[in-house]
Symmetry: C2
C-alpha cells in the first residue's frame, strides 16, 4: 500500500510530493527542521499525513537528543513541537498529534532517555497505523453511500498521499470500488498547487481506478450536464457544528452540488474534528505566497508584480454537507454537531481501552 | 486606445494574445489561412474580436483576388467564409460578421474588382468601429449599475483585447471608473488558457485600474467573505430566452453570485444575441485539446496520458442573470427574452438608417 510517511531507522521516510507526478523521489528526514520544512513546502501535505509526520518529528527530536537528562529531553521535544506547530495553521490534526505525543512525556520521573524516545516512536507509529485503519473504516462506511455505478467528483487530494495510506475521500472511493461498485472519478485540478492534477490522478491511475481530470471551473458544467452523482472531499478541520474547512474551492463545489441536488460528502478521521470551535468562522485560514498563483511549477502565468489573493482553504457551512464520514460511522443532519461530538467521545474511549 | 485588430495596408494587424503578458508582439496577417489560424489558436479571441477579424479575413480574400471576374471573386470570398466559419463553433459573432459581410456581395453585376474589395474593406472597418462605439455605450449603460465604490469580479477577458477596443465586461468597469466610481477588480485566472491571469490583469494594469488576481476556485470564498459587490462577464452567444454561453467557469460564478445575492451582469453587443436559438441548451459547446489542461504554457501539470475533459464554454441559465447590458441599454427580468428581441430589432433599424 502506498504510504507517504513512515519511520525508517531513526529518520522520517517521505515521498517528496512536490515532485509528483514527474518523479517519484523518497527521502529520509533526519532533523526536526527538515520535517518542518517538508510540511511547510508541502512535500508532506494533507491533514492526517501532516499530523503523522509531525508526530514522527517529535520522535526524531527525542531520538536525536544526545544528553542524559530526561527533563532536558522533554524541553527539546517541546521546542520541536513549537517549530512544527508553526508550519501550517489550518489542519487541526497537526495540533492534535503534537498534543497527543506530548502527553506521552507527562510522566518522565525515573525513565531512561532510550525509553522516552521509544515511547514517542511507538506513539507516532500508533498514530500512523491507526490512521490507516481509520481510512479503511471510512472507506467502508463511505463506500456504502456511493451508487453502484456512477461518477464521483473530488477536489484536491484526500488520498493515500494525504494520510497514513488508503485515503479519506479517496478511501471512500476505494471502499466503493473494493465492494464491487463501478466508480469513475472526476478530479478537480485544484489550483493553485494542483494536488488534483498531480496527485489524485497519479494515485488513482496507479490503482487502476478510472479518473478524468478537469479544471476547477468545469465542475459546475459537469453537474449541469447531469454527469456527477456524488461529491466527496477530505477536510483539514471540522468545527463542532459540522462546518468544514478544506482546500480552497471546496466551498464552490458544495454550493454547486447543492444547486444540483447532488450529495456532498466529507470524509475525515475524528482527529480532524475540533470541538473547541463552535463554528467554521473561527477556523484560521492560511494565506500563501502570490507566486503559487502567478508562477505554478516555475511557469509565469501573469504580469510581474500583479496583486494576488491566495487563501489556501475555505469553509463550507454544515447545511451544504450531506454527511460527514469518519472511522466511527456516518454523521448526517439533523443534530449533526451532536453526532460529531459523540463520535469524538467514542474515538477517545476506544483509544483509552 | 488598445485595439487588438485593425486593417493595415491590405493586411490584418493583430496582437498575438497567446504571447501576452510575456511579450507584446504585433503581426500583419496576409492570408485567409493565417487569419483562420490566428482565431483557431486564440491569438485573436473574444467573441466581438473574432467577428471583426473574420470580417477582415473576407476583405483580405477579396483584396488578394488576382483575376478579373466578379463572380469568381464572390466564390473566393465564400470559400474564405467557409474556412473562417470552421475555426470555432460557439461565438455567434463570427457567423454574424461573415453573414453581414457576404450580404455586401449580393449584387455584383457591373462592379469592378476594386470596388468589390473596397466594399468589403469598408464594411469590415465599419463592423470594427461600430463595435468600439457599442462597447463605449455598454460601458455607459453598465457603469451606471455598479456601486460608487466597490469590488467587481470578472471571469476570462471581455476587455479591449476581446473586442474592437474598450471591452464589454471591462467596458462596464471602464465606464464606471470614467464616471468617477472607485472600482477594484478581482480577476479570475480562468483556466485552462488563463485569459484572466494573462490578459485581464495586463490590460487593466495598463489603464491604471486596480486589479487583484485569484484562482477560479477562490471566487466563492471571496463572496462568502462579503468582498464582492457585483460580477460582470462577457458572452459568446446569448439565446433568445437570455441564457448565456460564456467561457467555462462562468456558470459557477453565476451560481455562487446567486447564493450570495450578488448581481451577476452580462455585457455584450446585440451581435452576440442569437434569436435563432430558443434556449442555451442549443448552443454548441466547443471542446478543446487535453494539453490545454495538462500542459499550460508548456509546463506539465498532470501524469502523461491521463483522461481530460476540456469544454471551452458553459451556459448560464437566464434566471441567474440580473441584467444583460448591450449597446441598446439594459435588459432585465421579467420578459428578458422580449427585451432582447426588441434590442436586436432596434440595432438592425439603426444600421439600416
Amino acid at each position: 500500500m502506498l504510504s507517504p510517511v513512515s519511520w525508517n531507522e531513526d529518520s522520517v521516510h517521505i515521498i517528496e510530493q512536490t515532485r509528483l507526478p514527474d518523479e517519484e523521489v523518497w527521502v529520509d528526514l533526519k532533523t526536526v527542521e527538515q520535517v518542518a520544512r517538508a510540511i511547510r513546502i508541502l512535500d508532506v501535505r494533507g491533514a492526517p499525513a501532516i499530523g503523522i509526520t509531525a508526530a514522527f518529528g517529535l520522535a526524531l527530536a527525542a531520538r536525536r537528543y544526545e544528553g542524559n537528562d530526561p527533563a532536558e529531553l522533554v524541553k527539546e521535544v517541546q521546542q520541536a513541537a513549537k517549530t512544527l506547530a508553526a508550519t501550517r495553521p489550518t489542519a487541526v490534526n497537526l495540533f492534535w498529534a503534537l498534543s497527543r505525543m506530548q502527553k506521552k512525556l507527562e510522566n518522565v520521573a525515573g525513565a531512561t532517555i532510550d525509553s522516552l524516545s521509544k515511547r514517542l516512536i511507538d506513539e507516532a507509529q500508533k498514530i500512523r497505523s491507526e490512521d490507516i485503519a481509520y481510512c479503511r473504516a471510512i472507506g467502508k462506511h463511505g463506500g456504502a453511500l456511493l451508487p453502484n455505478q456512477g461518477y464521483v467528483l473530488t477536489h484536491c487530494n484526500a488520498g493515500a498521499l494525504a494520510t497514513g495510506g488508503y485515503g479519506t475521500a479517496l478511501g471512500v472511493i476505494r471502499g466503493a470500488v473494493e465492494s464491487g461498485k463501478q466508480i469513475h472519478v472526476f478530479a478537480d485540478e485544484t489550483r493553485p498547487l494542483l494536488q488534483g492534477a498531480r496527485l489524485t490522478t497519479w494515485e488513482l491511475a496507479r490503482d487502476g481506478i478510472e479518473v478524468t481530470l478537469i479544471c476547477d471551473n468545469m465542475a459546475g458544467h459537469l453537474m449541469k450536464m447531469g454527469k456527477i452523482d456524488a461529491c466527496v472531499v477530505g477536510s483539514d478541520r471540522i468545527a463542532a457544528n459540522g462546518d468544514v474547512a478544506n482546500k480552497i474551492g471546496t466551498y464552490s463545489v458544495a454550493v454547486l452540488a447543492h444547486r444540483h441536488d447532488i450529495p456532498f460528502y466529507v470524509a475525515a478521521p475524528t482527529s480532524t474534528i475540533d470541538l473547541q470551535l463552535s463554528s467554521g468562522d473561527q477556523i484560521p485560514i492560511e494565506e500563501r505566497e502570490a507566486s503559487e498563483v502567478t508562477s505554478p511549477r516555475g511557469t509565469r502565468f501573469a504580469p510581474e508584480g500583479i496583486n494576488v489573493f491566495n487563501p489556501a482553504f475555505d469553509v463550507t457551512p454544515n447545511e451544504l454537507v450531506a454527511a460527514i464520514i469518519t472511522e466511527q460511522g456516518v454523521a448526517t443532519h439533523p443534530e449533526l454537531g451532536a453526532k460529531l461530538e459523540k463520535m469524538v467521545r467514542q474515538a477517545k474511549a476506544e483509544l483509552e481501552n
